[in-house]
């Protein structure tokens, strides 16, 4: 698929066309941060930003999602029977999603759709319907380390289109047939625009100051890594809140609850967090991850050891750095992974 070119003047037409088929969301500056917001007007779309404070995982895995509903009355002949929820009316486009966040969706596909016969329909239906238009990163943050976890500032996995901002125009790189369809009207990009985009890619990769090394970590057995002395120190300052897991674009653990109020009942899937003791608390009272150390170790081992083993090398981290930015006690993911690798 050849690269296309879109002048910033032509952006409004491009966006208006998207709006006929999709609900459009993009990062918008709200208060101090950029937030995923519904777009009606192309003027609202932000082009200069690092990344959104929260990841866009909520679009396919909402923090609270009603899966089924029922009439909470055993005496009603139709009571206590679970009914499906209606699907969304219109598919979504996520415009200007960062490559790390799109890569995270690819990682989560491996989790939610690992069995082709029985994928997670709530994830898959929304994911399949969406169009993802990425915006390549010009200047990575000090907490970004995507380049050392199978990703990068111009990474394409998970995207339908990658945009590269060349100031007065955008290089449009269609990556899927869906992406090709919405960019069909655009002109082919001149070679100099393609070269400029490539140059920008190299610059962005070189500008990344944070990195993690995983060589020794990958060579060790699970138990060797699990028994490392570092875990006695890493957890010391952790307060076991859920911030890292909720901000993480690849954390995906959930809890399912049936909730009722009067005659209404529903089954809800909520984000859960492995940092909470309740996450693994058994009905018997036993807790296999009863200590803070167990829980902190679990989160890093899951992402950097168990997931690669289980999912053909895929790391459960895309290097967005949100956990490091948001952690109330500054547990730095790069420091932890590098110490796991020592």
């Amino acid at each position: 698929m050849p690269d296309k070119i879109l002048t910033k003047d032509g952006l409004d037409t491009f966006i208006q066309k998207l709006l006929t088929d999709y609900d459009l969301y993009a990062p918008v500056l709200k208060g101090a941060d950029h937030t995923w917001s519904k777009i009606q007007d192309s003027q609202d779309v932000a082009w200069e930003f690092a990344n959104t404070a929260k990841s866009p995982k909520k679009f396919f895995l909402p923090q609270s999602e009603r899966l089924l509903h029922f009439t909470n009355n055993p005496d009603d002949p139709n009571g206590m029977i679970m009914h499906e929820e209606p699907g969304p009316d219109r598919p979504k486009t996520l415009l200007n999603i960062r490559p790390c966040d799109a890569k995270a969706f690819d990682v989560l596909d491996l989790v939610f759709c690992q069995d082709e016969q029985a994928p997670d329909v709530y994830w898959k239906s929304k994911r399949d319907a969406a169009l993802l238009i990425g915006l390549a990163c010009k200047s990575p943050c000090p907490t970004c380390f995507c380049f050392s976890v199978n990703c990068g500032p111009h990474h394409q996995e998970g995207l339908d289109i990658l945009l590269v901002d060349l100031d007065s125009e955008l290089l449009v790189r269609p990556l899927t047939s869906k992406g090709e369809a919405v960019s069909a009207d655009l002109k082919k990009a001149p070679q100099e625009a393609v070269d400029k985009a490539d140059e920008q890619k190299t610059q962005a990769e070189q500008a990344m100051t944070s990195r993690v090394d995983m060589e020794r970590l990958q060579e060790r057995t699970v138990l060797e890594e699990y028994d490392q002395a570092i875990w006695d120190r890493v957890h010391e300052s952790c307060i076991n809140c859920g911030t890292c897991t909720f901000y993480c674009p690849t954390c995906h653990c959930f809890d399912i609850q049936d909730e009722t109020q009067d005659e209404f009942g529903h089954r809800v899937r909520n984000w859960d967090t492995c940092m909470s003791w309740l996450f693994t608390h058994h009905t018997s009272g036993h807790n296999p991850r009863g200590s803070k150390k167990d829980r902190v170790r679990q989160r890093f081992m899951h992402k950097f050891k168990y997931m690669p083993i289980k999912l053909g090398g895929a790391i459960g981290c895309v290097g967005c750095g949100r956990c490091t930015q948001k952690c109330p006690v500054n547990i730095d993911v790069c420091e932890v992974v590098n110490s796991m690798n020592e």
Binding site: L29, G31, A32, D33, H34, A46, E48, F49, A50, A53, Q63, S64, S139, C141, P142, T143, R233, E236, S237, I239, N240, C241, G242, T243, F246, Y247, D255, Q257, E259, V268, N270, T273, S276, W277, L278, T324, Q325, K326, P328, V329, N330, I331, D332, C334, E335
Partner: protein, 314 residues
């Protein structure tokens, strides 16, 4: 490096080398701007990592709970008051803790600084006397420190450690310049429906990560009421009623115990000012019981006592 940091490192080294304590709980330099990290120095060498600055926004008293051995802890006014509270509530034994008292410079509010540079990436912030220097990818600006202090530090009444085994550096001014009663009063003037609207606006962004609870030295229940699931008191979904229940009950549980350390607000990833509730409740405690938490080891906290001749018992 500040004088306090130097003195702190030296004293921490001595205490660890002499075996007076097993660990010194303090702060080390953080890896992100405006945030030092809680740090546990267990050897004289590790004591060299300790720092004291205007970015020490946690409440270290939190880490004493359930910790074994003898620990030294760096404590400014509020933290020392929470240690007193924990001693009174039998969570910490006085003889197990060695308090390194300090004067608080007033901590910097990272969200205020970020709000001054909307949407821009701050890469480094350092203190320079009465100013802070903020650096970003493509900018550098000097800001007056005073304007970017946390609100609780502005209205602070006890900046020096209240209880300590030794004081590091000199004691300084006790107050931060503001009046906490003035900050708490607006609630009192609002009609009920407007109060509720203000309350909803304050907590609408909560994501239920419980960082505010977990970072707080008052919240040490073995099982918090929101985690209790047999029976389950509070729903788990993103439902207003459950979110509000958490915040209202949390605030009430802190009443007469909160030292206004501000750790909850600094920890909140979405920037909720949950002190809107606690500062009003603490004002009630001051007005009705003439009590301020954590100022001495003897007085009985008003909500931990019962009097048969209480005028409200008939």
């Amino acid at each position: 490096m500040s004088d306090i940091t130097n003195q702190l490192r030296q004293r921490a080294k001595d205490l660890l080398a002499q075996g007076t304590v097993d660990c010194v709980i303090g702060y080390a330099k953080g890896s992100v701007p405006m945030q030092e990290k809680p740090y546990f120095a267990t050897t004289p060498e590790e004591a060299d990592n300790l720092v004291w600055s205007g970015f020490c926004v946690n409440n270290l008293a939190n880490f004493l709970i359930g910790r074994s051995g003898k620990n030294a802890i760096v404590a400014q006014g509020c933290v020392s008051r929470n240690i007193i509270g924990l001693i009174k509530e039998n969570q910490v034994q006085r003889e197990d803790v060695y308090i390194l008292g300090v004067h608080s410079p007033g901590m910097i509010d990272a969200s205020k600084v970020q709000s001054h540079f909307p949407g821009r990436t701050i890469t480094d912030v350092f203190e320079d006397g009465k100013e802070i220097v903020v650096r970003g990818m493509d900018f550098e600006e000097r800001l007056p420190r005073k304007k970017f202090k946390r609100q609780n530090c502005f209205t602070c009444t006890h900046r020096n450690a209240v209880l300590y085994d030794e004081f590091i550096g000199q004691e300084g001014p006790q107050t931060g310049g503001g009046n906490i009663d003035n900050v708490a009063e607006p609630w009192e003037k609002l009609p009920p429906d407007q109060r509720w609207a203000e309350f909803e606006a304050a907590f609408k962004d909560c994501i239920r990560c419980y960082a505010c609870r977990n970072v707080c030295p008052l919240c040490y229940c073995n099982i918090c009421f929101v985690d209790e699931n047999n029976p389950q008191w509070v729903g788990k979904s993103q439902v207003d009623a459950d979110i509000y229940t958490f915040h209202i009950l949390r605030a009430f549980h802190c009443t007469g115990r909160c030292t206004d350390c501000g750790a909850c607000e600094s920890a909140c990833p979405v920037g909720i000012n949950m002190r809107v509730l606690t500062k009003k409740l603490e004002k009630d405690i001051r007005d009705k019981y003439d009590y301020q938490p954590g100022l001495d080891l003897e007085s009985v906290p008003p909500l931990s006592t019962y009097r048969a001749d209480d005028p409200e018992i008939s």
